[in-house]
Amino acid sequence: MLEALAYPFMQKALLSVVLVSIACGVVGALVVVNRMTFLAGGVAHAGYGGVGLAFFAGWPVMITATLFAVGAAVLAAMITLRDRERLDVAVGLLWAGGMAFGVLLIDLTPGYNVDLMSYLFGSILAVGNDVLWTMAVSVGALVAIVIVFYRPLLAISVDREFARVRGLPVAAVHILLVATVALAVMTAVPAIGLILVIALLTIPAYLAEMTARSLAMLMMTAVLWALVFSLAGLALAYAFDLTSGAVIVASAVVTLALAEGVRFGVRRLRKGTMDRVPASAGP
């Protein structure tokens, strides 16, 4: 297995999963505590519109798709700011509209046969230097945004109404949060694709939420979980010649199922112990 690390493509794959883990762990924590998984899914699929636009116009794919996704997410955030009840409609539009727009533009691109699957499910082993640099810059920007605006992000995540009473610009912080989610999604796309990114944004953060006592701790634990899944998935994909993105997500799903099983078992055990106490202690 270790001999694989001698290959440059494997070194780049390793570096890309580390970057994806940082992005998905840090931003996934915000997605989970704000119950924004559906929005993250909509943003991911809106990014596909950006991919189509890039091919149609001949622009750099990752940068165009990222800007497109961030723009679409910010627009959805602004529309739903006043009426959060309509968030589902806005996300549905992002989700379906983004995909349709992307497919149509690629259809209209003359003489171009794009491998759509690589954007939907990622191609970790084919990540090039230019994409790696783009990912590194995006992750650096994400981490900087979260550090600088940690407390306003925490304030609106805990209680938006109270934050507004205290004079915090809640609308601006909400738009920043949604833009951050879009940036994280598009950072992960080259490695694990538009569809699987949703799992890596939510599962590590959900697992981390079981033990974390603060948002910062939740972010760090989620990064660690994402790293475990990414590295294990990469190793398994290499060993059994499987699609790496799918193996990474499958390892996360299996771990989540095991963790929930253990949690359920512990609860049952505690309940059983509690139920037995009054019976034995009775007169």
């Binding site: 407390r151 306003p152 805990v158 009473v165 205290r166 910062a216």
Partner: protein, 269 residues
């Protein structure tokens, strides 16, 4: 002395339905105002107009003579407890520190590090509600009453001149409720308090003024329920109907002015 809160012909409409209409009243400094009324009568709308969360459709709200949004730092707000998820990974101390959002004493809000004075202010606020021992406890590990005290501490940490509490004893057991009532009694000593509740036993004992809300508002600067107030909230009831009994029960809690209670107390021998 100018009023702390002034409503001038205020009306507010949600999606075509008037929540409150033509409301005018003034709250004096140091008052403890019990805001009473049925569910859906507009009590929370009143609180949100005072805190600047809502802007009047017509009329004007003034807090310390200014727009509520500009007086935000002088208002402590305790929303209904259900607004915060117990599953959120945050300690009592960190939650209280959020009450210092935008407060220059807590240092800049840019960056993850708190100002030097934050820990001291948080500890003082938690001590005021007798929750200092729980500073590092996750909010999910606290009881409903303890969580409510932490929310009150979050409102207090910015040293507000007005405290607005929206149903602070809702979903709390009777022991927790009496602790909150005691706490409010102490807090009212050096600030203006607006307490919204449909629970008379909680809202009324310390009140120095009463406001009844049911789309319209009847304000009495004395701790006294009047017949117009009761009619506003509950309508006109016959002496032997259940609501008549309820009104009679309220006569034990607050003095009533100019009102004949449906079931008068038997005269002392």
């Amino acid at each position: 002395m100018p009023p702390v809160i002034a409503f001038e012909d205020v009306s507010f409409r949600y999606d075509g339905t008037w929540a409150v209409e033509d409301v005018s009243f003034e709250v004096a400094e140091g008052a403890f105002v019990a805001v009473l009324g049925p569910n859906g009568g507009g009590k929370t709308t009143l609180a949100k107009l005072i805190t600047g969360l809502l802007r009047p459709t017509t009329g004007r709200v003034r807090v310390f003579g200014d727009d509520p949004a500009r007086s935000a730092r002088r208002i402590g707000y305790v929303p209904q407890a259900a607004t915060i998820s117990p599953a959120f990974p945050i300690s009592a101390g960190d939650l209280v520190a959020l009450g210092l959002v935008g407060d220059e004493r807590a240092g800049s809000w840019i960056g993850p590090w708190r100002g030097r004075n934050t820990r001291k202010a948080v500890l003082e606020a938690l001590t005021a509600v007798e929750m200092d021992a729980f500073i590092d406890r996750p909010i999910g590990a606290l009881s409903g009453g303890q969580r409510q005290r932490v929310l009150i501490a979050r409102a207090l940490v910015g040293a507000p001149d007005v405290l607005v509490l929206d149903e602070p004893t809702a979903s709390i057991d009777p022991v927790g409720k009496s602790c909150i009532v005691e706490l409010l009694d102490r807090l009212a000593a050096d600030r203006t308090v607006i307490l919204i509740s449909h629970d008379l036993a909680t809202a009324v004992p310390q009140a120095t003024a009463v406001t009844c809300v049911n789309r319209q508002v009847v304000y009495n600067p004395e701790p006294m329920l009047t017949e117009p107030m009761l009619q506003l909230i509950y309508g006109v009831h016959r002496a032997n109907c259940p609501m008549g009994t309820f009104i009679h029960d309220m006569a034990h809690v607050l003095p009533m002015s100019g009102m004949r209670t449906p079931h008068p107390e038997p005269a002392d021998a």
